[in-house]
Assembly symmetry: D2
Amino acid sequence: MTLPVSEELIAGANAREINALEDEYAALGRKLERSGIAIDAVKDRVAGFSVAVPTWGAGRGGTRFAKFPVPGEPTNIHEKLEDCAVINQLSRMTPRVSPHFPWDTVSDYKALREEAAELGLGFDAVNSNTFQDQPGQVQSYATGSLASTVAATRRQAVEHNIECIEFGRQLGSTDLTVWVGDGTNFPGQQDLARSLDRYLEAAAEIYAALPGDWRMLIEHKMFEPAFYSTVISDWGSSILAAQELGPKAKCLVDLGHHAPNTNIEQIVARLHRFGKLGGFHFNDSKYGDDDLDSGSINPHQLFLVFNELVEAELNPRDGFNPSYMIDQSHNVTDPIESMISSAETIGACFAKALLVDREALHLAQEANDTMMAFQALRRAYNVDVGPILAKARLEAGGAIDALRAYRESKWRERKAQERKPAGLGAGIV
Amino acid sequence: MTLPVSEELIAGANAREINALEDEYAALGRKLERSGIAIDAVKDRVAGFSVAVPTWGAGRGGTRFAKFPVPGEPTNIHEKLEDCAVINQLSRMTPRVSPHFPWDTVSDYKALREEAAELGLGFDAVNSNTFQDQPGQVQSYATGSLASTVAATRRQAVEHNIECIEFGRQLGSTDLTVWVGDGTNFPGQQDLARSLDRYLEAAAEIYAALPGDWRMLIEHKMFEPAFYSTVISDWGSSILAAQELGPKAKCLVDLGHHAPNTNIEQIVARLHRFGKLGGFHFNDSKYGDDDLDSGSINPHQLFLVFNELVEAELNPRDGFNPSYMIDQSHNVTDPIESMISSAETIGACFAKALLVDREALHLAQEANDTMMAFQALRRAYNVDVGPILAKARLEAGGAIDALRAYRESKWRERKAQERKPAGLGAGIV
Amino acid sequence: MTLPVSEELIAGANAREINALEDEYAALGRKLERSGIAIDAVKDRVAGFSVAVPTWGAGRGGTRFAKFPVPGEPTNIHEKLEDCAVINQLSRMTPRVSPHFPWDTVSDYKALREEAAELGLGFDAVNSNTFQDQPGQVQSYATGSLASTVAATRRQAVEHNIECIEFGRQLGSTDLTVWVGDGTNFPGQQDLARSLDRYLEAAAEIYAALPGDWRMLIEHKMFEPAFYSTVISDWGSSILAAQELGPKAKCLVDLGHHAPNTNIEQIVARLHRFGKLGGFHFNDSKYGDDDLDSGSINPHQLFLVFNELVEAELNPRDGFNPSYMIDQSHNVTDPIESMISSAETIGACFAKALLVDREALHLAQEANDTMMAFQALRRAYNVDVGPILAKARLEAGGAIDALRAYRESKWRERKAQERKPAGLGAGIV
Amino acid sequence: MTLPVSEELIAGANAREINALEDEYAALGRKLERSGIAIDAVKDRVAGFSVAVPTWGAGRGGTRFAKFPVPGEPTNIHEKLEDCAVINQLSRMTPRVSPHFPWDTVSDYKALREEAAELGLGFDAVNSNTFQDQPGQVQSYATGSLASTVAATRRQAVEHNIECIEFGRQLGSTDLTVWVGDGTNFPGQQDLARSLDRYLEAAAEIYAALPGDWRMLIEHKMFEPAFYSTVISDWGSSILAAQELGPKAKCLVDLGHHAPNTNIEQIVARLHRFGKLGGFHFNDSKYGDDDLDSGSINPHQLFLVFNELVEAELNPRDGFNPSYMIDQSHNVTDPIESMISSAETIGACFAKALLVDREALHLAQEANDTMMAFQALRRAYNVDVGPILAKARLEAGGAIDALRAYRESKWRERKAQERKPAGLGAGIV
């Protein structure tokens, strides 16, 4: 394996931080000990936690108004893998990447898998793209894809998904994530019921092509790119579709795809309760599908989601095996920095959820002692778990302060010299 | 049958309106004829349409801050029936009332049924109340009802629902509507998964007590009275619960119980698609469960809901038999006037949905001719269907201008002399 | 003047519709007469009403995910003017276009003005663009524009606005609309107070360059392209900025730029009350700044806005002179059709607002007769004013059924042969 | 002074916690020291911080559906003061109470002031009540109060507010908080502009009665009890009203009174920027004006509000003197526990805001280093400031773990024996 950042640089950076970390870790250990929690056990659970990063997240994102490229951003799958390797090397929490086709199309997937492995990376869920037209594409997705009234378009979309499964098989993936932009901008534009019929029929063809150990992750979204209705608009539509498709179909929760004020952690609990929790696209939002950095707007909500996940793992009912991925649009930051920071935030929420005194919580719930039930969560949320995460990273070969080490590496500056510039983003108003 | 408003008064009022109506009905008939629509056929469909009114809606509603009683408002089920009879006599669209227990408890339900019949009224869905404590009640619903951790409370709530079925059986009802206030105000207050388990277990006991021709209508609500989570918070939770309970369990849609921006008409289409559309509580809202008059805020949304209902009836899949009820809180108007006005608005939306040229709509949808598909709906929405509704009312014995006839009847002024005053509402902040 | 659509075609189309129109107009006239309203007077008011269209609205819009071009769409200002002339020729309600710089930059504005005049068009408010980078631009707007921390960027943005005023002066405009994308995606990214200070300082420089008879229209927006904060996020920020700038600064209301559930018509009343109502960007939305066709989602809200405008005109306080423009993103329709349809919807809402019996309304308001006050609005809203608009169009030389006449003209099909294709829109995720 | 909880009990409780606290405080001190922050200086700032509690918050709140009284809840101002004294004795952060008239009316305000002082309490802002009718009241507020069309009602509301000022003067208050429920439930119910005219005219009469050192705090609210429009619905209306009234009029921010997704911290910054930030009603919400415990739903938002407040204090422009109060509805908890917990959360957010490295923040903002600007806030937010607050409480005579000490005091159980029960809350649907 040849990792992109020099190990000496990481070691040197850690040397400057180690004393402070040891002091904080020890102090936190004593504090947790007083509550009967062994800090090393928590640290080991955190060390075993990981979240995938999307290849497309390595580039600058934008809006319909504009995109502002950052010098040195990657413009092909090989450069994206390199950047993802930096994220994982420093954070030690993102060992898998999630590819998107046709954006990441190559001629030799075996070679791509080896290239990634050499960088310490494996492949996560494969993502299909039937929401935009590619040069030379026979059928346009202007009328939708899996739900289009045009049979040839549905066929093309199904075949593209099946092709994605084949690419994923070669890359070592076992999940296909299906998000479609199908929907309408006008009342009456399409029949709301028949659209779903067509979607389900086409999705069933994809489902039939899944290898035995694969899952199909259905991702719902309230709006955008369609602004009146979307065919899989909410978790209700998603789970009913997953029920119709079969046991390998599960639901994927993107934190930005819900109506305002929605209690997302309850949706997580519901999906788990009915055996259909498939995974997450982590990000944060204030208004719509803002695709902001995970936990940057509402870290408490992210903690409450992980609280449900820890509960679910302890009470697996029909099984518990969610897929975790970051899915953000990095419009104003260096994508590597945003994903390092986001992975840490996600890991911190997991760690805090582990710290919840579940016996106290459940007793208070049973006794309808609302204040003490709330405090059981709040005490855990208030803990600064930074030292636990830093210790886990350090022991795995990462950087205690991953952002600082990244800046010291001058990775982006070097790549700005080496890589060809990304195109100027044109707004689509 | 002895109806409350004098037939002479109605006849006199209609005499003043009839010429204008005939002119408008004829002109509209010519217009529709040019589109190949026979106005009398539409009028006959409208004449066959009805919507129930809730007994509690006959009284002034209020908020946690205050209630401002209106002189002459009813304070018992007998007075409420009288007021509901006025609504139906004038509008000829609300022949059934929906009772609420224990608010409408009487000693002799057979007598109550006869009393109603004498007023031209039958009974619609029965509503249970497990969201507030009654004097002398053994278990408090402070911890919830069907989802409470307290077994005796769940039992009490189940038994109350079963008692409601028995009352309803005697009254001629065939639907039980179950809405519970169960939920939480704090993260952690209750386990989100176990709460649903308890709810489902208790609901199954009620379900088991349903007579063979009855349905159980499950009503979801996003928030209020609980402000962090509610046990049946959205249509996804509702339909999954209905699936678990069995074929007699259906979902009820209250137009004010959704997240902001929700596409409610799509939820209607989804519930129908999956065989679980049970009925409606009609009202309107701008912010939350505002319980405003139907269509007063967003009449176009109500039209789009009826557009789905007309589609569903034409394409019944697993059956189509929704229950329709007005459910509003009349805080600033005479409840009789609000329900007369609301029934007319609901009927108008149904009439407009009937006017949609469905062949043109479906052809445009198939051809992805978005503008013409939209215009097919919009042309129907733009029609002033007032004359159709007025004609149907007139022919059924009602008033052409029902609000004006009501005012002329001086019903409320007379009742203000006869009835004992309602209590001054105390704000609960 | 040489208008793009053949007058014979329009005359032929109208000939087929005229009898139906005469019948409907006469019937509506009798109905209104019974309420004491002279239909011709309303028609004349409608004939005097107009709304501008934006040059950029003549092309297909898109989202960050994709744009699907329509064959024959315009790709330069000259083709856009031609399309706008079609809209106005058929609808007779859109005699002015609103240009956007640098998108509509030409070398000779006098010639452009003549070119437009020859097509029956004048120019409305000028729009500046400081939310995206153009090839060769010295300073990037990645850090914002008027509120940027970079002095040279603020200077560039100010100078661009001043240049826009100069272009507009030559075109005959008297309004400059200023919308900036400035804002942040992260808490802390910028200081919320200092950002506004910088904005106000830069805006004051633009204000100082306004000719004596010009206005500066400040457009607020809640979010997008910035997703945590925007510098002029709501009408409160907008009016305070306008107060600081001076009497020529007014506030512009885009119907899609508000928080969910916002009462937009009250904002209109407030801006008028405080002398700062500058104008509108008409469109509709269900979720965010969806830029859907005006009134396609919530036509009643549009009516309520016009109800406030008619009230404001009757009670002008510090003056009443709002600027009206359509601002939509036509992602799934022919832009010409959407703007024809939208103009008709906007005109219809104006016509309905004119029909409100204001004396009855005000008397009911004074008497706290809520139901009758509401019915005063509702009666007007329910009227099908289509015949009034059609008659006004017909008399002005337009088409009774403008959409049908447009389709018969085969304008788009012809342009698809003549014009060079627009580029395939690339999604920016 | 005679405080309600035994000092021995507090001392005993603290003795059990002191060693842990010393360890945690020392560890945190070392951590902060490494960032150049002296922990004792932060603790001293926190010790100087306080927030008022409302007398009505000492009782159980409810909804329009029900209220579930808690045994031992206070039912008069004297019992409420006692409970507030418990909160302050244990938390040492709530030395003032905010009275509400006529709920807290007494015959001798001088005696009440002494009674409070004996309990260690002073008086904060006075609250008037013109949103509900009291027995014997001459004019009903059914038509609104300051904005009512009924002149006698407006007069009554003005006089009540002036009376409140007089009560407050005797109690030592210097602020009058004016929140009115005025608004409408139907489009057209009232004229939106004239309603504000009447409000402003009446408010000016109250303003004129303010003593020289008093402020009038205007509280806006989006909805409830009115559900279509409210007369002071947003911060824009609030600040324009405050501008018209004069320099003693300021704006009060209740965290639950905004549209969904609103950036409240930016509103705080805007109000300060324009010299009108008057104060806060702290609570939290997920859906509407849920009045949940401060920071229980979104503690990060509360931190961001305090971040603006610390910035504002450092950059006072036209002055900085906000009034802080808790305003919650305690529907499912012991109100004393909720206010103890809320005060701690509010204090913690203040402490975290103090920990922000403002030099680093400002430098990063100037440099458009978005990630480091964000991290400057996030690093402070992540700190567990519990030891700082506990130390401050301990030194002031409070309890290290205030909730635990309260439970040990068995206050509520004792009061349940002594006090007469509160009435069963009746739902107003």
